[in-house]
Protein backbone atom coordinates (compact mmCIF):
# COMPACT_ATOMS: atom_id res chain seq x y z
CA UNK A 1 0.00 0.00 0.00
CA UNK A 2 1.54 3.30 -1.09
CA UNK A 3 1.92 6.10 1.43
CA UNK A 4 -0.40 9.09 0.89
CA UNK A 5 1.11 12.31 -0.44
CA UNK A 6 0.74 15.11 2.10
CA UNK A 7 3.06 18.10 2.19
CA UNK A 8 1.78 19.12 5.61
CA UNK A 9 4.13 16.39 6.89
CA UNK A 10 6.87 19.01 6.51
CA UNK A 11 5.61 20.62 9.72
CA UNK A 12 6.49 17.43 11.61
CA UNK A 13 9.98 17.39 10.11
CA UNK A 14 10.69 21.06 10.65
CA UNK A 15 12.22 20.85 14.17
CA UNK A 16 14.68 18.21 13.01
CA UNK A 17 15.62 20.20 9.94
CA UNK A 18 16.12 23.37 12.00
CA UNK A 19 18.31 21.69 14.63
CA UNK A 20 20.44 19.69 12.23
CA UNK A 21 20.81 22.66 9.92
CA UNK A 22 22.05 24.74 12.85
CA UNK A 23 24.60 22.05 13.70
CA UNK A 24 25.57 21.15 10.15
CA UNK A 25 25.10 24.02 7.71
CA UNK A 26 26.87 26.76 9.64
CA UNK A 27 30.00 24.67 10.25
CA UNK A 28 29.99 23.44 6.65
CA UNK A 29 29.80 27.01 5.39
CA UNK A 30 32.62 27.99 7.74
CA UNK A 31 34.71 25.17 6.34
CA UNK A 32 33.96 26.11 2.73
CA UNK A 33 34.80 29.71 3.55
CA UNK A 34 38.19 28.80 5.05
CA UNK A 35 39.01 26.42 2.24
CA UNK A 36 39.31 29.23 -0.28
CA UNK A 37 41.32 31.58 1.94
CA UNK A 38 44.75 31.81 3.47
CA UNK A 39 45.48 33.29 6.87
CA UNK A 40 48.66 34.59 8.44
CA UNK A 41 47.20 34.74 11.93
CA UNK A 42 45.61 37.82 13.58
CA UNK A 43 42.35 37.03 11.81
CA UNK A 44 43.64 38.38 8.49
CA UNK A 45 42.40 36.35 5.59
CA UNK A 46 43.36 36.42 1.93
CA UNK A 47 41.56 34.98 -1.03
CA UNK A 48 43.30 31.86 -2.23
CA UNK A 49 40.72 30.45 -4.64
CA UNK A 50 41.21 26.78 -5.39
CA UNK A 51 44.86 26.90 -4.35
CA UNK A 52 44.51 24.56 -1.37
CA UNK A 53 42.53 22.03 -3.36
CA UNK A 54 45.12 21.99 -6.16
CA UNK A 55 47.90 21.48 -3.65
CA UNK A 56 45.93 18.83 -1.76
CA UNK A 57 45.11 16.73 -4.81
CA UNK A 58 48.62 16.88 -6.25
CA UNK A 59 50.66 14.08 -4.64
CA UNK A 60 53.97 15.76 -5.56
CA UNK A 61 53.43 18.62 -3.09
CA UNK A 62 54.06 18.35 0.64
CA UNK A 63 50.41 18.61 1.61
CA UNK A 64 49.23 16.36 -1.22
CA UNK A 65 51.78 13.67 -0.46
CA UNK A 66 50.80 13.70 3.19
CA UNK A 67 47.10 13.59 2.31
CA UNK A 68 47.39 10.64 -0.07
CA UNK A 69 49.59 8.68 2.35
CA UNK A 70 46.98 9.11 5.09
CA UNK A 71 44.18 8.30 2.63
CA UNK A 72 45.70 4.97 1.52
CA UNK A 73 46.48 4.11 5.13
CA UNK A 74 42.86 4.77 6.14
CA UNK A 75 41.45 2.82 3.18
CA UNK A 76 43.73 -0.13 3.96
CA UNK A 77 42.62 -0.01 7.58
CA UNK A 78 38.92 0.01 6.61
CA UNK A 79 39.44 -2.86 4.17
CA UNK A 80 41.25 -5.03 6.73
CA UNK A 81 38.63 -4.30 9.40
CA UNK A 82 35.72 -5.16 7.10
CA UNK A 83 37.48 -8.31 5.83
CA UNK A 84 37.88 -9.61 9.38
CA UNK A 85 34.80 -8.27 11.15
CA UNK A 86 32.09 -9.21 8.65
CA UNK A 87 32.92 -12.95 8.30
CA UNK A 88 33.75 -13.26 12.00
CA UNK A 89 30.54 -11.47 12.94
CA UNK A 90 28.43 -13.78 10.76
CA UNK A 91 30.22 -16.80 12.22
CA UNK A 92 29.63 -15.76 15.81
CA UNK A 93 26.00 -14.83 15.10
CA UNK A 94 25.39 -18.38 13.82
CA UNK A 95 26.65 -19.80 17.11
CA UNK A 96 24.30 -17.76 19.31
CA UNK A 97 21.59 -19.82 21.01
CA UNK A 98 18.07 -19.23 19.68
CA UNK A 99 16.21 -19.44 22.99
CA UNK A 100 16.76 -19.81 26.70
CA UNK A 101 18.60 -17.75 29.30
CA UNK A 102 21.79 -17.87 27.25
CA UNK A 103 20.36 -15.44 24.69
CA UNK A 104 20.08 -12.40 26.95
CA UNK A 105 23.35 -13.18 28.72
CA UNK A 106 25.27 -13.52 25.44
CA UNK A 107 23.74 -10.35 23.98
CA UNK A 108 24.59 -8.26 27.03
CA UNK A 109 28.19 -9.53 27.11
CA UNK A 110 28.57 -9.04 23.36
CA UNK A 111 27.27 -5.47 23.49
CA UNK A 112 29.59 -4.47 26.31
CA UNK A 113 32.54 -3.23 24.18
CA UNK A 114 30.18 -1.01 22.16
CA UNK A 115 29.24 1.02 25.24
CA UNK A 116 32.76 1.81 26.35
CA UNK A 117 33.93 5.39 25.63
CA UNK A 118 36.34 5.34 22.72
CA UNK A 119 39.31 6.70 24.59
CA UNK A 120 38.75 4.09 27.30
CA UNK A 121 38.86 1.45 24.55
CA UNK A 122 42.24 2.92 23.70
CA UNK A 123 43.27 2.84 27.35
CA UNK A 124 42.15 -0.78 27.73
CA UNK A 125 44.30 -1.87 24.80
CA UNK A 126 47.20 0.27 25.89
CA UNK A 127 47.17 -1.37 29.30
CA UNK A 128 46.56 -4.80 27.75
CA UNK A 129 49.20 -4.68 25.00
CA UNK A 130 52.14 -2.90 26.65
CA UNK A 131 55.11 -5.18 26.96
CA UNK A 132 55.92 -4.19 30.54
CA UNK A 133 52.49 -4.21 32.24
CA UNK A 134 50.14 -5.76 29.66
CA UNK A 135 48.98 -9.36 29.61
CA UNK A 136 49.00 -9.57 25.80
CA UNK A 137 52.28 -7.75 25.32
CA UNK A 138 54.07 -9.83 27.95
CA UNK A 139 52.59 -13.10 26.65
CA UNK A 140 53.57 -12.45 23.03
CA UNK A 141 57.07 -11.38 24.01
CA UNK A 142 57.24 -14.40 26.31
CA UNK A 143 56.62 -16.62 23.28
CA UNK A 144 59.77 -15.18 21.78
CA UNK A 145 58.06 -12.87 19.28
CA UNK A 146 59.37 -9.33 19.37
CA UNK A 147 56.27 -7.19 19.91
CA UNK A 148 56.28 -3.51 20.82
CA UNK A 149 53.53 -1.41 19.31
CA UNK A 150 55.32 1.82 20.14
CA UNK A 151 58.31 0.91 18.01
CA UNK A 152 57.52 -1.35 15.06
CA UNK A 153 54.89 -0.26 12.54
CA UNK A 154 53.67 -3.84 12.04
CA UNK A 155 53.03 -4.33 15.76
CA UNK A 156 51.22 -0.98 15.86
CA UNK A 157 48.98 -2.04 12.97
CA UNK A 158 48.26 -5.45 14.51
CA UNK A 159 47.31 -3.75 17.78
CA UNK A 160 45.07 -1.16 16.16
CA UNK A 161 43.31 -3.76 14.00
CA UNK A 162 42.89 -6.18 16.92
CA UNK A 163 41.42 -3.33 18.93
CA UNK A 164 38.92 -2.47 16.21
CA UNK A 165 37.92 -6.13 15.82
CA UNK A 166 37.48 -6.37 19.59
CA UNK A 167 35.50 -3.12 19.67
CA UNK A 168 33.18 -3.47 16.69
CA UNK A 169 32.69 -7.11 15.64
CA UNK A 170 29.85 -7.28 18.16
CA UNK A 171 27.93 -4.75 16.08
CA UNK A 172 28.04 -7.11 13.09
CA UNK A 173 27.10 -10.05 15.34
CA UNK A 174 24.06 -8.25 16.77
CA UNK A 175 22.89 -7.13 13.33
CA UNK A 176 23.24 -10.63 11.86
CA UNK A 177 21.54 -12.13 14.88
CA UNK A 178 18.58 -9.78 14.35
CA UNK A 179 18.39 -10.97 10.73
CA UNK A 180 18.66 -14.64 11.66
CA UNK A 181 15.95 -14.37 14.29
CA UNK A 182 13.49 -13.18 11.63
CA UNK A 183 13.71 -16.57 9.86
CA UNK A 184 10.65 -18.72 10.66
CA UNK A 185 11.34 -22.19 12.09
CA UNK A 186 9.38 -23.70 9.20
CA UNK A 187 12.24 -22.86 6.83
CA UNK A 188 14.69 -24.90 8.88
CA UNK A 189 12.24 -27.80 9.16
CA UNK A 190 11.72 -27.81 5.40
CA UNK A 191 15.48 -27.83 4.89
CA UNK A 192 15.80 -30.77 7.31
CA UNK A 193 13.13 -32.74 5.43
CA UNK A 194 15.03 -32.10 2.19
CA UNK A 195 18.23 -33.29 3.88
CA UNK A 196 20.02 -30.02 3.14
CA UNK A 197 23.57 -29.65 4.45
CA UNK A 198 24.28 -26.81 6.86
CA UNK A 199 26.26 -25.13 4.06
CA UNK A 200 23.18 -25.27 1.81
CA UNK A 201 21.01 -23.90 4.62
CA UNK A 202 23.47 -21.06 5.05
CA UNK A 203 23.62 -20.20 1.34
CA UNK A 204 19.92 -20.62 0.53
CA UNK A 205 18.17 -19.44 3.72
CA UNK A 206 20.39 -17.63 6.20
CA UNK A 207 22.55 -15.50 3.91
CA UNK A 208 19.68 -14.08 1.81
CA UNK A 209 17.73 -13.27 4.98
CA UNK A 210 20.74 -11.44 6.36
CA UNK A 211 21.30 -9.35 3.24
CA UNK A 212 19.49 -6.31 4.58
CA UNK A 213 21.20 -6.23 7.95
CA UNK A 214 24.57 -6.95 6.35
CA UNK A 215 24.04 -3.86 4.21
CA UNK A 216 23.62 -1.78 7.34
CA UNK A 217 26.59 -3.51 8.98
CA UNK A 218 28.97 -2.86 6.07
CA UNK A 219 27.76 0.73 5.74
CA UNK A 220 28.20 1.53 9.44
CA UNK A 221 31.51 -0.28 9.72
CA UNK A 222 32.94 1.44 6.65
CA UNK A 223 31.88 4.89 7.83
CA UNK A 224 33.13 4.43 11.36
CA UNK A 225 36.44 2.76 10.50
CA UNK A 226 37.12 5.38 7.83
CA UNK A 227 36.51 8.15 10.38
CA UNK A 228 38.40 6.49 13.25
CA UNK A 229 40.25 8.94 15.45
CA UNK A 230 40.19 8.43 19.20
CA UNK A 231 41.23 4.80 19.65
CA UNK A 232 44.45 4.79 17.58
CA UNK A 233 45.22 8.29 18.84
CA UNK A 234 45.20 7.06 22.43
CA UNK A 235 47.17 3.87 21.73
CA UNK A 236 49.77 4.90 19.17
CA UNK A 237 49.28 8.66 18.77
CA UNK A 238 49.59 8.06 15.03
CA UNK A 239 53.02 6.49 15.33
CA UNK A 240 55.54 5.00 15.25
CA UNK A 241 56.52 7.72 12.81
CA UNK A 242 53.39 8.19 10.75
CA UNK A 243 52.55 4.48 10.51
CA UNK A 244 49.07 4.78 12.01
CA UNK A 245 48.30 8.43 11.19
CA UNK A 246 44.86 8.04 9.67
CA UNK A 247 43.00 10.85 7.91
CA UNK A 248 41.17 12.07 11.01
CA UNK A 249 44.35 12.18 13.05
CA UNK A 250 46.17 14.08 10.31
CA UNK A 251 43.26 16.48 9.93
CA UNK A 252 43.12 17.30 13.64
CA UNK A 253 46.89 17.79 13.62
CA UNK A 254 46.63 20.31 10.80
CA UNK A 255 43.51 22.08 12.08
CA UNK A 256 43.99 22.26 15.84
CA UNK A 257 47.72 21.56 16.12
CA UNK A 258 49.20 23.80 13.43
CA UNK A 259 46.08 25.96 13.02
CA UNK A 260 46.45 25.81 9.22
CA UNK A 261 42.79 26.59 8.66
CA UNK A 262 42.81 26.76 4.87
CA UNK A 263 44.61 23.45 4.39
CA UNK A 264 42.51 21.73 7.05
CA UNK A 265 39.27 23.04 5.56
CA UNK A 266 40.15 21.90 2.04
CA UNK A 267 41.11 18.50 3.43
CA UNK A 268 37.84 18.30 5.40
CA UNK A 269 35.80 18.90 2.28
CA UNK A 270 37.60 16.29 0.18
CA UNK A 271 37.49 13.80 3.09
CA UNK A 272 33.78 14.35 3.60
CA UNK A 273 33.03 14.02 -0.12
CA UNK A 274 34.85 10.66 -0.27
CA UNK A 275 32.81 9.24 2.63
CA UNK A 276 29.60 10.63 1.17
CA UNK A 277 30.25 9.26 -2.31
CA UNK A 278 31.10 5.76 -1.15
CA UNK A 279 28.07 5.64 1.12
CA UNK A 280 25.74 6.99 -1.52
CA UNK A 281 26.87 4.44 -4.10
CA UNK A 282 26.55 1.67 -1.56
CA UNK A 283 23.14 2.92 -0.38
CA UNK A 284 21.78 3.33 -3.91
CA UNK A 285 22.92 -0.06 -5.22
CA UNK A 286 21.74 -2.04 -2.20
CA UNK A 287 18.34 -0.35 -1.95
CA UNK A 288 17.85 -0.92 -5.68
CA UNK A 289 18.73 -4.62 -5.51
CA UNK A 290 16.42 -4.96 -2.52
CA UNK A 291 13.45 -3.35 -4.22
CA UNK A 292 14.06 -5.59 -7.25
CA UNK A 293 14.11 -8.62 -4.98
CA UNK A 294 10.75 -7.63 -3.54
CA UNK A 295 9.03 -7.24 -6.88
Amino acid sequence: MAKPLDNRAWFLVLPVVALVAFSALIPVMTVVNYSVQDSFGNNEFFWNGTGWFKELLDPSTDLGGRFFDALWRTLLFSAICLAIEVPLGIGVALTLPRRGWGVAASLVLLALPLLIPWNVVGTIWQVFARRDIGLLGAAVNGLGIEYNYAQTPLAAWVTVVAMDVWHWTSLVVLLCYAGLRAIPDAYYQAAKVDGASSWAVFRAIQLPKMQRVLTIAVLLRFMDSFMIYTEPFVVTGGGPGNATTFLSIDLVKIALGQFDLGKAAAMSIVYNLIVLTVCWVFFATTTRSQSEAVQ
Binding site: K3, P4, S106, L115, Y229
Partner: protein
Amino acid sequence: MSGAALAPASLAATRAPAESGALRAAVPRVVLVLYILFLLVPIYWLVNMSLKTNLEINSGMTLWPQNPTLEHYRRIFTDASWYSGYINSLTYVALNTLISLAVALPAAYAFSRYRFLGDKHLFFWLLSNRMAPPAVFALPFFQLYSAVGLFDTPWAVALAHCLFNIPLAVWILEGFMSGVPREIDETAAIDGWSFPAFFIRHFLPLVAGGVGVAAFFCFMFSWVELLLARTLTTVNAKPIVATMTRTVSAAGMDWGLLSAAGVLTIIPGAIVIWFVRNHIARGFALGRV
Protein backbone atom coordinates in the same frame (compact mmCIF):
# COMPACT_ATOMS: atom_id res chain seq x y z
CA MET B 1 29.43 -9.28 -1.33
CA SER B 2 29.71 -12.88 -2.40
CA GLY B 3 28.69 -15.66 -0.07
CA ALA B 4 32.01 -17.43 -0.53
CA ALA B 5 33.92 -14.50 0.88
CA LEU B 6 31.77 -14.30 3.96
CA ALA B 7 31.53 -17.95 4.80
CA PRO B 8 34.74 -19.34 6.32
CA ALA B 9 34.03 -18.50 9.95
CA SER B 10 30.56 -19.99 9.85
CA LEU B 11 31.84 -23.07 8.06
CA ALA B 12 34.17 -23.75 10.92
CA ALA B 13 31.27 -23.40 13.29
CA THR B 14 28.66 -25.48 11.51
CA ARG B 15 30.58 -28.10 9.50
CA ALA B 16 33.20 -29.13 11.98
CA PRO B 17 34.42 -32.70 11.59
CA ALA B 18 32.06 -34.06 14.21
CA GLU B 19 31.59 -37.79 14.69
CA SER B 20 28.68 -37.69 17.11
CA GLY B 21 25.71 -35.32 17.30
CA ALA B 22 26.69 -34.19 20.78
CA LEU B 23 30.14 -33.12 19.65
CA ARG B 24 28.63 -31.38 16.66
CA ALA B 25 26.25 -29.45 18.90
CA ALA B 26 29.08 -28.47 21.21
CA VAL B 27 31.16 -26.75 18.51
CA PRO B 28 29.06 -23.55 18.27
CA ARG B 29 29.06 -23.25 22.07
CA VAL B 30 32.83 -23.51 22.17
CA VAL B 31 33.24 -20.88 19.45
CA LEU B 32 30.86 -18.54 21.29
CA VAL B 33 32.57 -19.03 24.64
CA LEU B 34 36.00 -18.42 23.08
CA TYR B 35 34.76 -15.25 21.42
CA ILE B 36 33.21 -13.91 24.64
CA LEU B 37 36.48 -14.71 26.44
CA PHE B 38 38.31 -12.67 23.80
CA LEU B 39 35.97 -9.77 24.62
CA LEU B 40 36.26 -10.08 28.37
CA VAL B 41 39.99 -10.68 28.93
CA PRO B 42 41.06 -7.06 28.11
CA ILE B 43 38.27 -5.76 30.36
CA TYR B 44 39.37 -8.12 33.12
CA TRP B 45 42.90 -6.78 32.76
CA LEU B 46 41.63 -3.21 33.23
CA VAL B 47 39.72 -4.20 36.39
CA ASN B 48 42.78 -6.07 37.60
CA MET B 49 44.97 -3.00 37.14
CA SER B 50 42.45 -0.75 38.88
CA LEU B 51 42.65 -2.87 42.05
CA LYS B 52 46.46 -2.94 42.23
CA THR B 53 48.73 -0.45 43.89
CA ASN B 54 50.98 1.45 41.50
CA LEU B 55 53.94 -0.19 43.18
CA GLU B 56 52.64 -3.61 42.24
CA ILE B 57 51.83 -2.52 38.67
CA ASN B 58 55.34 -1.27 38.08
CA SER B 59 57.18 -4.05 39.87
CA GLY B 60 56.13 -6.97 37.71
CA MET B 61 53.40 -9.03 36.08
CA THR B 62 50.74 -10.51 38.34
CA LEU B 63 47.58 -12.14 37.01
CA TRP B 64 45.47 -10.88 39.89
CA PRO B 65 46.02 -8.22 42.56
CA GLN B 66 48.19 -9.53 45.39
CA ASN B 67 47.15 -6.71 47.74
CA PRO B 68 43.75 -5.59 46.41
CA THR B 69 43.15 -1.91 47.10
CA LEU B 70 40.23 0.44 46.51
CA GLU B 71 42.52 3.44 46.90
CA HIS B 72 42.13 4.57 43.25
CA TYR B 73 38.34 4.44 43.45
CA ARG B 74 38.38 6.30 46.76
CA ARG B 75 40.42 9.05 45.15
CA ILE B 76 38.01 9.42 42.26
CA PHE B 77 34.95 9.60 44.50
CA THR B 78 36.47 12.15 46.87
CA ASP B 79 38.21 14.44 44.35
CA ALA B 80 35.81 16.94 42.75
CA SER B 81 37.93 17.32 39.62
CA TRP B 82 37.33 13.60 38.99
CA TYR B 83 33.74 12.95 40.01
CA SER B 84 32.42 16.20 38.51
CA GLY B 85 33.60 14.78 35.18
CA TYR B 86 31.08 11.96 35.52
CA ILE B 87 28.32 14.41 36.43
CA ASN B 88 29.15 16.63 33.44
CA SER B 89 29.16 13.67 31.08
CA LEU B 90 25.85 12.31 32.34
CA THR B 91 24.32 15.80 32.11
CA TYR B 92 25.05 16.38 28.46
CA VAL B 93 24.22 12.77 27.56
CA ALA B 94 20.80 13.11 29.20
CA LEU B 95 20.16 16.50 27.56
CA ASN B 96 21.16 15.14 24.19
CA THR B 97 18.93 12.07 24.51
CA LEU B 98 15.91 14.21 25.46
CA ILE B 99 16.40 16.74 22.65
CA SER B 100 17.07 14.07 20.05
CA LEU B 101 13.97 12.04 20.93
CA ALA B 102 11.69 15.07 21.21
CA VAL B 103 12.39 16.25 17.68
CA ALA B 104 12.97 12.84 16.09
CA LEU B 105 9.59 11.36 17.10
CA PRO B 106 7.35 13.59 14.94
CA ALA B 107 9.86 13.53 12.08
CA ALA B 108 10.05 9.75 12.09
CA TYR B 109 6.25 9.60 12.05
CA ALA B 110 6.17 11.89 9.02
CA PHE B 111 8.72 9.74 7.16
CA SER B 112 6.96 6.50 8.00
CA ARG B 113 3.41 7.67 7.12
CA TYR B 114 3.57 10.25 4.31
CA ARG B 115 5.23 11.07 1.05
CA PHE B 116 6.08 14.75 0.75
CA LEU B 117 8.09 17.08 -1.41
CA GLY B 118 11.78 16.12 -1.20
CA ASP B 119 11.31 13.42 1.43
CA LYS B 120 13.95 11.03 0.06
CA HIS B 121 16.53 13.79 -0.38
CA LEU B 122 15.84 15.06 3.09
CA PHE B 123 16.30 11.59 4.55
CA PHE B 124 19.64 11.10 2.83
CA TRP B 125 20.75 14.59 3.85
CA LEU B 126 20.00 13.71 7.48
CA LEU B 127 21.91 10.46 7.20
CA SER B 128 24.83 12.21 5.52
CA ASN B 129 25.39 14.05 8.79
CA ARG B 130 25.80 10.74 10.56
CA MET B 131 28.52 10.00 8.01
CA ALA B 132 30.43 13.25 8.50
CA PRO B 133 33.76 12.74 10.28
CA PRO B 134 33.62 14.53 13.67
CA ALA B 135 37.17 15.71 13.02
CA VAL B 136 35.75 17.89 10.22
CA PHE B 137 33.41 19.62 12.64
CA ALA B 138 35.71 20.10 15.60
CA LEU B 139 37.06 23.51 14.63
CA PRO B 140 33.88 25.13 13.24
CA PHE B 141 31.91 23.90 16.27
CA PHE B 142 34.47 25.46 18.56
CA GLN B 143 33.96 28.81 16.82
CA LEU B 144 30.18 28.49 16.50
CA TYR B 145 29.55 27.68 20.15
CA SER B 146 32.03 30.29 21.32
CA ALA B 147 30.18 32.86 19.23
CA VAL B 148 26.77 32.05 20.71
CA GLY B 149 28.12 31.90 24.27
CA LEU B 150 27.50 28.21 24.89
CA PHE B 151 31.16 27.18 24.96
CA ASP B 152 32.08 25.11 28.02
CA THR B 153 28.46 24.32 28.93
CA PRO B 154 26.74 20.93 28.72
CA TRP B 155 24.39 22.47 26.13
CA ALA B 156 27.20 22.90 23.63
CA VAL B 157 28.12 19.21 23.74
CA ALA B 158 24.47 18.10 23.82
CA LEU B 159 23.64 20.18 20.73
CA ALA B 160 26.81 19.15 18.92
CA HIS B 161 26.04 15.47 19.48
CA CYS B 162 22.58 16.05 17.99
CA LEU B 163 24.36 16.22 14.65
CA PHE B 164 24.75 12.45 14.53
CA ASN B 165 22.17 11.35 17.11
CA ILE B 166 19.08 12.98 15.57
CA PRO B 167 19.59 11.31 12.18
CA LEU B 168 20.16 7.99 13.91
CA ALA B 169 17.08 8.39 16.11
CA VAL B 170 14.95 9.28 13.07
CA TRP B 171 16.33 6.27 11.22
CA ILE B 172 15.60 3.82 14.08
CA LEU B 173 12.17 5.22 14.96
CA GLU B 174 11.10 5.27 11.31
CA GLY B 175 11.93 1.56 11.12
CA PHE B 176 9.89 0.72 14.20
CA MET B 177 6.95 2.97 13.23
CA SER B 178 6.71 1.46 9.76
CA GLY B 179 6.01 -1.85 11.50
CA VAL B 180 2.77 -0.46 12.99
CA PRO B 181 -0.19 -0.88 10.58
CA ARG B 182 -1.60 2.37 9.24
CA GLU B 183 -5.20 1.24 9.91
CA ILE B 184 -4.64 2.24 13.54
CA ASP B 185 -4.09 5.88 12.54
CA GLU B 186 -7.14 5.84 10.29
CA THR B 187 -9.41 4.29 12.93
CA ALA B 188 -8.33 6.87 15.49
CA ALA B 189 -9.02 9.71 13.06
CA ILE B 190 -12.52 8.33 12.38
CA ASP B 191 -13.13 8.04 16.12
CA GLY B 192 -12.43 11.76 16.44
CA TRP B 193 -9.04 11.75 18.15
CA SER B 194 -6.94 14.82 17.47
CA PHE B 195 -3.48 14.09 16.13
CA PRO B 196 -1.48 15.08 19.26
CA ALA B 197 -3.80 13.12 21.54
CA PHE B 198 -3.70 10.08 19.27
CA PHE B 199 0.07 10.29 18.93
CA ILE B 200 0.79 10.48 22.64
CA ARG B 201 -1.93 8.22 24.05
CA HIS B 202 -2.26 5.54 21.38
CA PHE B 203 0.70 5.57 19.04
CA LEU B 204 3.64 6.06 21.43
CA PRO B 205 2.82 2.99 23.55
CA LEU B 206 2.83 0.89 20.37
CA VAL B 207 6.39 1.92 19.52
CA ALA B 208 7.65 2.01 23.12
CA GLY B 209 10.31 -0.60 22.30
CA GLY B 210 11.57 1.57 19.47
CA VAL B 211 11.69 4.67 21.67
CA GLY B 212 13.69 2.72 24.24
CA VAL B 213 16.13 1.54 21.61
CA ALA B 214 16.49 5.02 20.10
CA ALA B 215 17.17 6.44 23.57
CA PHE B 216 19.73 3.69 24.12
CA PHE B 217 21.57 4.61 20.91
CA CYS B 218 21.52 8.34 21.66
CA PHE B 219 22.95 7.55 25.08
CA MET B 220 25.54 5.24 23.59
CA PHE B 221 26.93 7.51 20.89
CA SER B 222 26.90 10.57 23.12
CA TRP B 223 28.57 8.69 25.97
CA VAL B 224 31.41 7.21 23.92
CA GLU B 225 32.31 10.32 21.91
CA LEU B 226 35.46 12.17 22.90
CA LEU B 227 36.66 14.51 20.17
CA LEU B 228 33.76 16.99 20.16
CA ALA B 229 33.15 16.73 23.90
CA ARG B 230 36.78 17.62 24.55
CA THR B 231 36.91 20.41 21.98
CA LEU B 232 33.80 22.16 23.28
CA THR B 233 34.68 22.24 26.98
CA THR B 234 37.55 23.49 29.10
CA VAL B 235 36.81 23.59 32.82
CA ASN B 236 33.20 23.86 33.94
CA ALA B 237 31.69 21.19 31.72
CA LYS B 238 34.73 18.98 31.23
CA PRO B 239 33.57 15.39 30.62
CA ILE B 240 35.14 12.40 32.30
CA VAL B 241 36.71 11.15 29.08
CA ALA B 242 38.62 14.43 28.78
CA THR B 243 39.59 14.41 32.45
CA MET B 244 41.19 11.03 31.83
CA THR B 245 43.32 12.13 28.88
CA ARG B 246 44.52 15.32 30.53
CA THR B 247 45.43 13.83 33.88
CA VAL B 248 47.48 11.18 32.17
CA SER B 249 49.56 13.68 30.26
CA ALA B 250 50.03 15.92 33.30
CA ALA B 251 50.83 13.43 36.04
CA GLY B 252 52.89 10.92 34.06
CA MET B 253 51.39 7.46 33.93
CA ASP B 254 49.21 6.71 36.93
CA TRP B 255 47.97 3.41 35.49
CA GLY B 256 45.97 2.38 38.54
CA LEU B 257 43.97 5.61 38.68
CA LEU B 258 43.49 5.63 34.90
CA SER B 259 42.21 2.04 35.01
CA ALA B 260 39.81 2.78 37.85
CA ALA B 261 38.38 5.76 35.95
CA GLY B 262 38.04 3.53 32.88
CA VAL B 263 36.19 0.83 34.82
CA LEU B 264 33.76 3.44 36.13
CA THR B 265 32.96 4.60 32.57
CA ILE B 266 31.98 1.04 31.60
CA ILE B 267 29.33 0.76 34.33
CA PRO B 268 26.62 3.17 32.99
CA GLY B 269 26.80 1.41 29.62
CA ALA B 270 26.44 -2.00 31.21
CA ILE B 271 23.36 -0.79 33.11
CA VAL B 272 21.56 0.59 30.06
CA ILE B 273 22.32 -2.54 28.01
CA TRP B 274 20.57 -4.58 30.67
CA PHE B 275 17.39 -2.49 30.27
CA VAL B 276 17.15 -2.89 26.51
CA ARG B 277 18.50 -6.44 26.25
CA ASN B 278 15.30 -7.82 24.72
CA HIS B 279 15.14 -5.17 22.00
CA ILE B 280 18.83 -4.71 21.41
CA ALA B 281 19.24 -7.01 18.41
CA ARG B 282 16.32 -5.42 16.56
CA GLY B 283 17.59 -2.02 17.60
CA PHE B 284 21.01 -2.58 16.09
CA ALA B 285 19.21 -3.51 12.87
CA LEU B 286 17.63 -0.02 13.19
CA GLY B 287 14.16 -1.53 13.52
CA ARG B 288 14.36 -2.91 10.01
CA VAL B 289 14.03 -6.64 10.44
